[in-house]
Each structure stands twice: as C-alpha cells, then as structure tokens.
C-alpha cells in the first residue's frame, strides 16, 4: 500500500526538543520512551535554540512548543522561554514535578512584559493519586499538582493534560479533574485530553498498531491535510529536524539537518499517523468529534 503524502503548507508551529529524551519520570505509556538516563537525543544549548528561532522567524512561524523529555531538566529552560517570548508565543510541555519556587520566579521574570502567551501544559493522567502514580510513578501526582498550584499563584494559568484512556475523556473524568483543581485553589481550571499513541513504551503495554491501521489517500482527501499537525509543524532536535513530535524514534521521521530541508511533503506511512488522523496530535479535543463523525 502506498502511503499518501501530507503536503507542507507553511510553518505554524516549531516544536523544539530542548532537553532531548531525558526525563525524571518513566511513564508507562510514554510514546517516545523518555526516561532517566535516556541519551538518545542531545539537548540543545540556549544559543542553538536562538538560532532555530531566527530560522523560524524567516519562515513566519506562529508559535514555539518546547518538549522533551522533560524541558525543565534543561538548566536554561526559563531563560530560553524568555528569549522566545520576546518574539513569539510559547508553550512548554512539562510533567510539572520540577517547578520549584525558584524556577517559577525565573519563568515569571522571563514572561514579564511579553505581548505573547506562555502556555504551560502539565501532564497528569488521572484525577486520583493512585491511578495517576500507577502510570506516571510514585509521588508524581502530588508533585505535579504542587507545580500547578505554584504556577497559578504566580499568575500563570497552567493547562492540565491527560492522556485519554478508553473511558478517560468521559464528562465525569473531566469533572473530576476540574473539581480536583478547584480543591487545590486553581480557579480557572483548564484541562485537555491527549490521544494515546501506541508506540514507544506504550507499544509494549498495548501491542502497537496493526498493519491495516494506516491513513489512506481517500482518508486524507476526506479530512483535508491542513487538519494534520505535519502539514504546518516540524520538530527540531539535537540530531536534526523531524516531521513531528510523535515519530522521533522512527528513522524515517527525520527530514534533514536543517529546518529548511524539512519543508517538504511527508508520507503518512506509520500506525501513529492513524491516531493523529482520528484524534489530532495535540489536545485538539473537538477536532476529534469532527473526525469521528
């Protein structure tokens, strides 16, 4: 079966894997198998990130997304956020466990005076400590919530992101998350659900994708390629530029050494592409409803 090409329509979002795949947690469902001691990808120096921002500016980028691994393992994450926010909106995807008072002070200083939004997305996978810690590791629930509370106190509005289990995006789960946040004093509770990608560590857990779970040319035509992340985003790492943040462990996902080389169509040949097709790659909760019609 020939995989259809997703065209590249322009760079809206540049993802930057700022801390490589190194993480202080080892979550059971992690799609890129981040974890302690993962040296698969080198982290990026502040100057390297600045040069990426320069190139993204030429491309007319809309926003910058920092991911990992855990971005706050990078010693300069707050200052990198500041470099970014003076020019672009930014999002940091974090597990929230390293958001100490000191880090948040530095982040506040970095965000002060910017016209642009800083979104901090904190991963939490269940509204109960027991269920969350089974997936994300002992103690992660309380530490992530403490990070969210500190952000709220500093005037940020963290977004809690939960990986959607089979029943995980049910209205009751959303309500449970919202009341948990309210109990902790977070008044503007923001919660988003993410799809499960059956790759990385999750592949061992749930068995990966079947051969027929692929995006076909007919499917792509029906949806329109502009709905897919890879039509308007790229992911810069310490080892070159990848098509998207999801396929970082696929050699075929690498599109070149530089951003410019990656501005070309990409064949949707992977099982994970079918998840992206059905659910969207990034917290696009309702695009889901449209796709499932």
């Amino acid at each position: 079966m020939n995989a259809p090409d997703c065209p590249f329509l322009g760079l809206d979002s540049l993802w930057i894997q700022v801390a490589g795949l190194s993480c202080n947690l080892r979550c059971a469902h992690c799609f890129n198998a981040s974890g302690p001691g993962n040296r698969e990808m080198p982290s990026l120096a502040r100057a390297e990130v600045k040069s990426l921002l320069d190139r993204a500016e030429v491309a007319g980028v809309r926003d910058i997304v920092f991911t990992g691994g855990e971005p706050f393992l990078h010693p300069d994450m707050a200052e990198i956020a500041g470099d970014t926010l003076s020019r672009f909106p930014a999002t940091i995807l974090t597990n929230g466990t390293l958001l100490t008072k000191r880090v948040i002070e530095r982040l506040s200083a970095a965000a002060r005076g910017s016209t642009y939004s800083l979104e901090v997305r904190i991963s939490l996978d269940a509204p109960s400590e027991e269920e969350n810690d089974r997936i994300r590791g002992k103690g992660s629930f309380e530490r992530a919530l403490a990070g969210a509370v500190r952000l709220e106190k500093a005037g940020f509005l963290p977004i809690l992101t939960a990986v959607r289990s089979e029943e995980g995006s049910a209205p009751e789960t959303l309500e449970a998350f919202e009341s948990l946040l309210r109990e902790r004093g977070i008044r503007k509770s923001r919660v988003k659900f993410l799809p499960v990608f059956r790759i990385g560590r999750e592949e061992n857990r749930s068995g990966g994708y079947q051969q027929d779970e692929r995006v076909t040319a007919e499917m792509l035509e029906l949806l329109g390629p502009e709905q897919l992340l890879c039509s308007t985003a790229r992911m810069a790492t310490g080892r070159g530029v990848w098509v998207c943040p999801i396929l970082v462990n696929e050699p075929g996902g690498r599109m070149g050494d530089t951003l410019e080389e990656s501005f070309r169509p990409f064949p949707l040949a992977y099982g994970a592409c079918s998840t992206c097709y059905r659910h969207g790659a990034v917290c696009a909760n309702a695009a889901t409803a449209v796709r499932e019609e």
């Binding site: 500016e57 020019r87 672009f88 642009y116 939004s117 940020f156 959303l174 988003k192």
Partner: protein
C-alpha cells in the same frame, strides 16, 4: 472583480451575534464618523431574534463579509463551525447555533449563503485592504493578539498581497503595526462585550489620512438591559445573558490563550 476605492475613513465591525440593539446604535455612531461601513461577519450567535439583525444590515445596505456562522446557517449546516477545540465550548456553541438556525427565515438563510468570504478595498493612497472574518486563509481561524507574532502576521499579509488586514471572529479587539508599516486590526465584536467587565461593545475606524494607516477602537453603549430582557423572554440560556449584563465571558472560554483568559473573570 474590481476593488472598491474607499475614502480615508472606513468603519469596520464584526460579530453581531444577533445583538440588533448594538447594531442599530453602531450604525448611528459610525455613519457620523466614516462615509463607508463594512461588516466582517457572524450576524448570528448568542443573542435574540436573528432576523432583526440581518434585516437591519440589508436595509442599510452594509456590505458583509461572510463569517463561519453565516456560512453554516446559509448552507443549512449542522453546526456553527466556530473552530472550537473543546467539548465545553462546543456545547454552548451548539445551543446558540440551534437557536439562531431555528429562528432565521429561509430568505435570510439564502441571503447569508451568498455573502463573499473576503472583500478587497483600495485606500486613497493605494493601500491594499483585505477584509475577512477569521484569517485570510481560514474563515474560522482565531487571530488572538497573544498568539499572533509579527513574522506570522507578515506571512499572512505577504501570502494575500495586502497592506492592511482586518478580521474579527475572536471577539476581542487589538491592532498591530508591523515594522514595515503594514497594519493588522482585529475589530472585536459588537454582539457581546470584550470580556473586560464593561457592558459596552467595540468597533474600529480605519484612518488612512495620515502618513501611516492606523485604527481607532470606539465603544458602543446600547440598551444592554433591554437585550438581556429579550434574551430571557426567548429562553436563551442564562450564561449568555450574564455576559451581556456583566461584560465577562462565561462560556466558550477554553479557546482563549493564557493572556486573554487571565484578563477575564472566568
């Protein structure tokens, strides 16, 4: 189609959202400030009696850019295609769409279907002006101030070959002059307050008389208490009425970026 040449003052408004009282007040105010007035779309949504707003606009002969609401109602679609990405936002969007759809006459639906997606104007100094609803590339794209960096706006202007871009759709007004002098203005909405705790609504007047183009935002005060009464009489859900009465958004909040969300009450 030839571009219409405009004078040095152009009134621009969007997001009527069935607020026929604010619309009437706006036409009154704007006609004293600018010889030309354009609507950037979304005639329907949260407010009461959708046919009233459509008819006021038709009678006044105001050119209208088609918004996502107008397109959906006109094409008899099942939802507003507002572009929300959260089920809570979509729940309330569905309520206001169902009301608007049910209460728009067939004739007015046909009218909304015929509206153009963009209008191009030429300023007195040759400025190329593009009017659209969300963004030049998508009718329902949200251009928020805090999510629209200069290089991105420059790309939108380059791709559509214009010097001045005017949009609405988000409901909160803002403007930006790019380093090269080109201007992007989001005219806000006249249908509901700008989530600032004030009951008035906003529109913009483009000023092309100076060396560089500029936009001024002007408030419209109208009988919001009467609108709230009409909404309750139509059994429109209470959160929509509260927004009209208090100036704070109560629904469709999940789409807001951090900065815009932080400024509101909820």
């Amino acid at each position: 189609m030839g571009e219409r040449v405009v004078s040095d003052r152009v009134a621009l408004f969007g997001g009527v959202y069935n607020n026929h009282l604010a619309l009437a007040a706006l036409l009154d105010d704007a006609s004293s400030r600018a010889p030309e007035i354009f609507c950037l779309g979304d005639v329907g949504a949260f407010g009461p009696h959708p046919d009233r707003s459509v008819e006021i606009l038709r009678e006044a002969g105001v050119p209208i850019v088609q918004g996502n609401y107008d397109r959906s109602v006109g094409l008899r679609r099942g939802d507003c295609a507002c572009g929300y990405t959260d089920p809570r936002d979509n729940h309330f969007a569905g309520l206001s769409y169902a009301y608007t759809f049910r209460n728009t006459s067939e004739r007015n639906k046909d009218f909304l279907a015929t509206l153009p997606e963009t209008i191009r104007l030429r300023g007195p100094g040759g400025e190329r002006i593009l009017l659209c609803h969300g963004s030049p590339r998508r009718q329902n794209e949200f251009l928020w101030e805090s999510l629209s960096p200069d290089p991105f706006l420059a790309r939108l202007l380059d791709d559509t070959r214009c010097d001045i871009l005017a949009v609405t759709h988000t409901g909160i007004p803002w403007k930006r002059r790019l380093p090269d002098g080109r201007v992007v203005v989001n005219v806000g909405a006249i249908g509901r307050p700008a989530n600032d705790g004030q009951t008035h609504v906003w529109y913009a007047v483009l000023d092309l008389s100076g060396e560089a183009p500029d936009a001024t935002f002007l408030p419209i005060r109208y009988d919001h208490e009467r609108l709230a009464e009409e909404m309750r009489a139509e059994r429109i859900v209470e959160p929509f009425v509260k927004t009209i009465e208090t100036g704070w958004w109560t629904t469709c909040l999940e789409i807001l970026p951090a900065k815009e969300r932080a400024r509101g009450m909820y």
